[in-house]
């Protein structure tokens, strides 16, 4: 117990002091997670909207597939993307393995189903009358779709922030595709894995504290956005 408290004390001190390794790992984590969330939203939000508002053959199957993708372990995603990016894989020529971009690609694969499924739920839960009212008031169908999105905005923001929290706290993909290279692809989570293997729990907890601060911060931003 003592040992745990000691870890937390050391953790807060290191985080407050702005230790360069802590800063570098935080920056890598934030930039990769933002990149992955951005592209995840770029693909995921339209998919979610489309699934919620259009009827087409195979829609049920598409939803079932996306929902089961939510449960795919991150090491499996990591392994598959690794196979693509390795020199022996189809995309090997791009020299992406063990770079922040490689991590971001893997994390996009993780983020897309999350954002699709939750934004679909958000759009689907908007009262059908909102769209109908807009149409009766003379709105074009594009205008009406915008009204629906506006109504669903809390759910959409929650979907994107949920994905951000997931990708920033993920370790399997970051380790396999980034390689935990110090100052380059070492994230807070892969740093924690390394530090705990060295028995440096204090430093590991410092990284954990920073990660929690980042996630707390995004949730505060989310609350503010939802109020505006």
């Amino acid at each position: 117990m003592n040992f745990l408290l000691e870890g937390f004390r050391e953790g807060f001190l290191l985080a407050l002091r702005g230790d360069p390794e802590v800063l570098s790992a935080s920056w890598v984590t934030i930039k990769v997670a933002l990149g992955a969330t951005f592209f995840g939203g770029l693909f995921g939000l339209p998919v979610g909207w489309f699934l919620a508002s259009k009827k087409f053959r195979g829609r049920g199957a598409a939803i079932a597939i996306l929902q089961s993708l939510l449960g795919v372990p991150t090491v499996v995603i990591g392994l598959v993307v690794y196979g693509m990016l390795s020199r022996r894989g189809p995309l090997g020529f791009a020299d992406l393995l063990f770079t922040p971009s490689a991590m971001a690609i893997g994390l996009v694969v993780l983020a897309v189903p999350i954002i699709s499924v939750f934004s679909m739920t958000a759009v689907a839960s908007v009262d059908e009358r909102a769209r109908e009212t807009a149409m009766t008031l003379g709105a074009s169908s594009r205008r009406a779709a915008w009204t629906v999105l506006r109504e669903a905005r809390f759910g959409l923001v929650a979907a994107v922030l949920g994905a951000f929290g997931r990708v920033s706290s993920e370790v399997g993909i970051a380790m396999m595709l980034g390689g935990n290279i110090k100052g380059f692809t070492r994230t807070l989570t892969t740093g924690i894995a390394l530090e705990s293997s060295k028995g440096e729990f204090g430093f590991g907890i410092a990284l954990g504290v920073v990660l929690m601060i980042i996630i707390l911060f995004t949730n505060i931003v989310s609350r503010l956005l939802q109020r505006s």
Binding site: I30, K31, G35, F38, R87, F98
Partner: protein
């Protein structure tokens, strides 16, 4: 809402665009190595000298020796620093690597709980020590990850005429640090390189003691190998060779010999020492 969306998009773009720019290859050298060289801090000690001299960034991927050799074979690394001489020679003879050189050595040791429940302490002959652990069904923590240490452990079990299995034999699939920590927590015996053990013991992180050491079979040489550019034309062979030369140069050798953790010398340079030749 539109303005807000615009602001968010701008914010993301300003962060994401530099991200893609950064992954453009500067002069980088990808080193695949074993876990012990990284977490003991040896590479953090050596690399700044090398990086400064040649204006290169060394990207270190620390995995077990088996995985490191695999990365080299697939062309996902430029140079390897590993410790499994037999596997290294096979790697070179199959044409995956070139210019293998001895770099440094230490030795493997068997560590165990302070109470030494299997009564191994003082046995210099490693297979005898293993036979005793297995006869008493004392807990044994194995790397189980095809690393250099794991390969060595398996060859020792073979020499002992035992194929280890059962509830007492914990195959962990973890790096050396994690394996030592788990052995410590569970009161298990384990094979480790002396450098890793000293790294933990010197900082008071484990309550494990050395129970068997000194067997000739326990020598642990580390070698450096450049990945064969004929097989993988994209590898940075010129930088890889600079790295090989650096580690084996008088300067590199001296740096290795002067690396200390809490006053303990963890690795011995290969030059000028008989034990380093294999």
């Amino acid at each position: 809402m539109v303005r807000l969306t615009g602001a968010i998009l701008f914010f993301f773009a300003s962060v994401v665009l530099p991200l893609s720019a950064e992954s453009a290859p500067e002069r980088k050298l990808t080193l695949a190595t074993t876990t012990s060289t990284q977490f003991t801090g040896l590479l953090d000690w050596l690399h700044p000298h090398f990086e400064k001299r040649y204006g290169v960034r060394v990207h270190t991927i620390a995995v077990g020796t088996g995985k490191a050799l695999r990365l080299g074979r697939d062309g996902d690394a430029d140079v390897l620093l590993v410790h499994a001489p037999k596997a290294e020679k096979r790697f070179v003879s199959r044409g995956y690597g070139v210019n293998r050189r001895n770099v440094m050595f230490n030795d493997f040791i068997i560590v165990g709980p302070l109470a030494d429940p299997a009564g191994v302490a003082g046995l210099a002959d490693a297979p005898t020590a293993l036979r005793r652990v297995s006869a008493r069904k004392a807990l044994w923590a194995s790397r189980g990850d095809d690393s250099g240490t794991h390969k060595k452990e398996m060859s020792l079990w073979q020499a002992a005429g035992i194929s280890p299995e059962g509830g007492w034999y914990l195959s962990l699939g973890q790096g050396m640090g994690d394996t030592l920590r788990i052995a410590d927590e569970k009161g298990a015996y384990a094979l480790t390189d002396r450098g890793s053990y000293l790294f933990f013991a010197a900082r008071g992180k484990v309550d494990l003691r050395i129970v068997s050491e000194g067997d000739k079979r326990l020598l642990n040489p580390y070698g450096v190998i450049a990945v064969n550019p004929k097989r993988h034309p994209h590898v940075r062979y010129d930088l890889a060779m600079k790295y090989v030369t650096f580690l084996t140069s008088p300067e590199g050798q001296k740096l290795i010999g002067s690396f200390r953790v809490k006053g303990k010398k963890l690795f011995h340079p290969s030059t000028g020492s008989k034990a380093g030749k294999n």
